[in-house]
Symmetry: C2
Subunit: 728 residues, 2 copies
């Protein structure tokens, strides 16, 4: 392996291996640029003495103006593409067509426009008025050029392979619609990933947290190495057959394994949502796909960073390997910390100020803080996208509870729109890229090999892990669920963004083309086959969530008065055990009662007893959970004025509302750990349970349904009703 | 006058007079750029043969990485600045402090950070590793440089004045926080302006449309020429005194008049909103400020485009003058048309599809269509910002009525957040720019002259126009209103964005500095003095809108049954006369009954009878308003399936709900123009009036209050209640 080669400037023009900051971002100058046209027009005529200079500037101006016009037109193309997608998807939803998801549709339209641009527009002559200028030294980031006494500043855009220099005949339009790959990573992915984190269905997510983490971390690593090794075999085969014309190292194969392990079952999940399929399966799939995106990003960076010392770069180097592992752990934990910290800061700010009286300010603050996570992580050298994911989860877990009802729906809707636009943009760009991207390397053997490898990798990921997980889970993950998870290994935006990020070498170009085809196939075929598959596998659909929640609501009321007829007898050996509101004889038979290991149980109790009281208005007062000798500290930390005096009702209320994931725990541990004060606390709730039933059950409904499905907004706005009464 | 000079590249580095598309956008690479670091790290070590090349790349990489980190930090600075502003403004609102608006606060924080950056950070040595390279030809937009056999591509960034070349010692941080001026025009202004258009309070706006247009067009032109001429006098004076070191032409003065005539009474209007000051005064001020932004942009472009032919560039050239006028009219009407057309298209799409079942799709479509206006206008060579303004107005007038209740609040909230962030960003940047901008030209005489000139210009704008308007208005604009309008001539984001757009020449730099100081002064001093001024001028505050609307509601109910006890006797000579719901003896005494000229009355009836029925689900059926011989056409245009069959209730309903601005007109002209069918139409409403009173009055309330004040969301969401009932 010669890692130096992977980034050596190859024939790549779209992604030269040069400092990314220096790449002229092709998307955003589109937004800018009308600019000084008028001024420049004035400058074009002038005093007679400056005629030639003015003429020059006039020419440059005209060129820039024309270029700006084309920029606007190309961005307009994408917007019209998205508009068309929206209208068609409305038609599909209207007619209840389920075989094609909006992302698949966006790809189809992208393909069509790509074909038109590729074959329909004339190949205009390149407008690169180039001038060669030989210099001896290394390439600088800035260049000063003296043109007849005037000095112009140039910035480095990238290296061009010598073969391309004379090839200035290029289709302008194709170049215009080719974006800098970093656009995906730094502009389009963050809102998608943040929205995913922010809309994790909390109760079902935390109930299956252990399994989700296992699938995401272990599973992705297994999948990455299996695919990597299989692909290395394929590459060896290609070398034997003589189909490989350039270098393709083992680390390249592992890199491919990493990027293609990021699953994105957006199509499947949309259908799950629509059909109200099993919520635990939904949680497993969604949680896994969200987290394995993060794992895949960091894994791919670590693989790229694997640099054996010395000349024998093919040999296994333990030091370099452990360095890679260290980089993985460092980047991952660093990004996680960044995200969690800004989430916690936002929670504290929203808790200790009365910002919730001004939803606009609150929403703006929320947006800014979430964005600052990305920048902070980037500034510290971590991965912004991963930080944003964990920030989203933290915001949903803590900050969300402190927001005003209005801001809850506002923030959700804001990120929902951003997510929707970004996702469909990426998918339509994918369709476009199949025809407009200039450096495709179609290798049938590699492509077939990759399809087989991802199938086997997914199988080696799901079945063995599920087997081991089932050993520890009380409610097993059934065979039909395992098959469905196996089937749902779609690839999407993240795999694409990782693949297009570097297409400088032959190997990377082949990977990019293959990734694109895998995304197309999985989104269209697997996405289209979801509904038949669900019925074939006998997976329960049509679980009307509101009614299910109504049941829970009833049960939760029982909890409130301390009696639950549907519930198992309370566990006698472990008071921290996590119980669910669902009965054990629930229709799925897949609910897990005691899946969480001791570490998660510890976390749950820590979260519930200390973090939630500190960061939100909910949970038991710290004065009851902390030992008595730190009573003063507890009072300080819990901001007594918020906690005891000003918002007693809200505090009491949310104690039982905002902890729906671990409601039983609330009950369980407040009877066990808290002695005097907690007892009275429970008693007071029992008395007031009847009175508050309506509003709190509404909030429970809203919180549970609101986190991540289409009912977000209707449920979100429902709660405004009391507010309206105050106004009129 | 030598217009060629105005754009000749001067000592300006921030705004070189070069194609704006080629300017490396400083804001957005920040977002990008982490990028290929890992890849590049891999590339840094490599095969032994490539050691030197790898070392080079390593150095470049390290530099880029460091630069990217600084980019993130500088953007983070702005975000923290905004966060701080939000928290402080919350504190101010919480404590009901009214003397400082959030924009003023943002400027203060910007100033503080600017001082810290300017004097607190060490002046690092410039990292421009520059290399001079002489070429004979003109400057090209792209440059190929041959470095030891490798070819690198450079793009033109801008011209540098010779004096600056050796001055590479620059504060990195100061450079990082200096944005490309086009960012303001192409990213930050559009959401602000669109939101302004979208939140025009329709009823009050259209009631005063004549006066608003007069103030915006005539007034801005008068103000521009008065200020321009006064400033020319000041410049002459400066020349005599010897305070002027460079050229300053008459067109420069006029340009200054144009940019400084864009008023932005955001502070005043916020206080009006909070104190519930008179709604007509609010409408006059807000409408004027929204429209005069558009006028000022186009006016300034036209002035720059004024190019007398021949060598004698100081002489008045009638041809050039008329060309400028033509450019003004062309750009303005073109942009207007673009905005109106996309608004109309959106209205048609939302009307003829059932997109309102899917609020997310609807919101996304709305956003995309509104954005496409900007791009379309830019692609056609018009002004995107102006197009976006008229698109916003059209969307509010037609599309808004077709949206689902959910999308109404979603779109409003989305643009509200964008507007809020963009506006506060601009104001904090202004504060920062006072210290970090490198080319300030403080000229005391010019600054004092400018303050006097804007005062006189505002006076010459308001008082004579009000006098002439009062000749035609039944309800005069009182002296106290005129004084308040005179007082409210604040300058804000638009003046700043126009001034910073071109700071290449000495004259422009002086203008920029002066504009900045004018904005500071007006926002802080005038903004702070609004509350005392209101009470000093005896302007009614504390008008509780809901109660006022309740009154209207009652009156409108009377309208519905055809009797209005509070109303004047129906006008007998003009059935198209525009009546208002307010009685003539309303508390203000300033309501106007018959202000609109015949052209506006014609427009009202055309809009109500033809446009609204075509574009929305409201208004009388076209079959009744069009002559009988085009009955077939009418049926086709009004989409019978929507109009007659599927949504009869909605159509009937909205007829009386969605035309609140011209409700009386509805009544008036349906009795006059429509013969048979309209009569029955009215009758049926009379019968059903009682039944629908509640829901329609709610909608009226919502529509009227919702458009542009703080109650937006609580009212907007109120209407979700019926929807929720369907769900649960």
């Amino acid at each position: 392996m010669e890692p130096g080669d992977t980034a050596r400037p190859g024939p790549g023009r779209a992604v030269p291996a040069l400092p990314p900051r220096l790449l002229l971002l092709p998307l955003l100058p589109l937004l800018l640029g009308r600019g000084l046209r008028a001024t420049a027009a004035a400058s074009s005529s002038g005093a007679a003495a400056e005629d030639s200079s003015a003429m020059e500037e006039l020419a440059t101006e005209k060129e820039a103006e024309e270029s700006h016009r084309q920029d606007s037109v190309s961005l307009l193309t994408f917007i019209l593409l998205l508009t068309l997608t929206i209208l068609t998807i409305w038609l599909f939803k209207h007619r209840r067509v389920r075989f094609l998801h909006e992302t698949g549709l966006a790809m189809i339209y992208g393909l069509i426009v790509g074909v038109i641009l590729r074959y329909g527009t004339p190949a205009t002559s390149g407008r690169d008025k180039s001038l060669s200028c030989t210099q001896e030294d290394r390439a600088f980031s800035t260049l000063l050029v003296n043109v007849s006494g005037k000095f112009f500043e140039y910035t480095l855009k990238g290296e061009i392979s010598p073969g391309k220099i004379n090839n200035v005949e290029q289709n302008d339009m194709l170049r215009k619609v080719t974006f800098d790959p970093e656009v995906f990573f730094n502009i389009l992915l963050p809102p998608i990933i943040f929205h995913a984190g922010y809309s994790l269905k909390k109760r079902h997510f935390f109930r299956n947290l252990g399994s989700i983490l296992a699938y995401a971390f272990l599973g992705t690593a297994v999948s990455c190495f299996i695919i990597g090794n299989l692909m290395y075999g394929v590459v060896k085969l290609m070398k034997i057959v003589g189909q490989l014309s350039d270098k393709f190292y083992y680390t390249d194969c592992l890199f491919f394994g990493a990027i293609i392990s990021a699953t994105d079952p957006v199509t499947v999940l949309a259908i799950f949502n629509e059909l109200h399929a099993d919520v635990d399966l939904y949680a497993l799939l969604f949680g896994e796909s969200v987290l394995n995106d993060a794992v895949a990003i960091v894994l791919s960076s670590s693989i790229v960073a694997y640099q054996p010392a010395g000349l024998n770069t093919h040999a296994f180097d333990a030091a370099a390997f452990f360095k890679s592992v260290g980089i993985f752990l460092g980047i991952f934990s660093g990004s996680f910390t960044m995200g969690a910290v800004t989430g916690v800061v936002t929670a504290l700010v929203t808790k200790f100020t009365k910002l919730h009286c001004f939803p606009l300010l609150e929403t703006a603050l929320f947006f800014l803080m979430s964005w600052s996570t990305f920048l902070l992580a980037e500034a510290c050298g971590f991965t912004g996208v991963v930080a944003v994911l964990f920030c989203g989860i933290t915001q949903a877990h803590y900050t969300y509870n402190n927001l005003s009802v209005e801001s809850r729906s506002r923030t959700k809707q804001l990120f929902e729109v951003l997510h929707f636009l970004a996702e469909n943009f990426i998918f339509s760009y994918m369709g476009l890229a199949l025809f407009t991207f200039q450096k495709h390397v179609f290798s049938p053997i590699f492509i077939i090999g990759a399809f087989v490898a991802i199938f086997l990798g997914r199988a080696a990921h799901i079945y063995p892990l599920s087997f081991f997980l089932n050993l520890g889970r009380r409610h097993k993950i059934g065979w039909n669920f395992q098959h469905m998870m196996m089937f749902s290994g779609l690839r999407g935006a993240m795999a694409f963004a990782l693949a297009i990020r570097d297409t400088a070498t032959y190997a990377r170009q082949m990977m990019f083309t293959t990734t694109l085809l895998i995304v197309f196939f999985t989104v269209w075929v697997i996405g289209g086959g979801t509904t038949p598959m669900l019925s074939w596998l006998n997976i329960r659909v049509g679980v009307e969530e509101p009614s299910e929640e109504d049941q829970n609501e009833r049960r939760w009321q029982y909890f409130r008065v301390g009696v639950d007829p549907d519930q198992d007898p309370p566990p006698n050996n472990d008071s921290f055990q996590v119980l669910q509101g669902d009965g054990p004889d629930s229709a799925t038979g897949n609910r897990t009662k005691q899946e969480s290991a001791w570490i998660f149980r510890l976390w749950y109790s820590f979260d519930h007893n200390y973090l939630k009281p500190i960061l939100t208005h909910s949970g038991p007062p710290l004065t009851t959970t902390l030992p008595t000798w730190c009573g003063l500290l507890a009072r300080c930390l819990t901001s007594p004025q918020v906690y005891d005096n000003q918002e007693p009702l809200r505090e009491e209320d949310s104690d039982f509302i905002l902890t729906e994931g671990d409601l039983t725990l609330t009950y369980g541990d407040s009877t066990v750990t808290a002695n005097g004060s907690s007892g009275s606390h429970t008693a007071s709730t029992s008395l007031e349970g009847g009175r508050r039933t309506k509003s709190s059950s509404e909030e429970v409904l809203e919180r549970d349904l609101g986190m991540g499905d289409q009912k977000v907004s209707s449920w979100g706005t429902r709660l405004v009703f009391p507010l309206e009464d105050n106004n009129s």
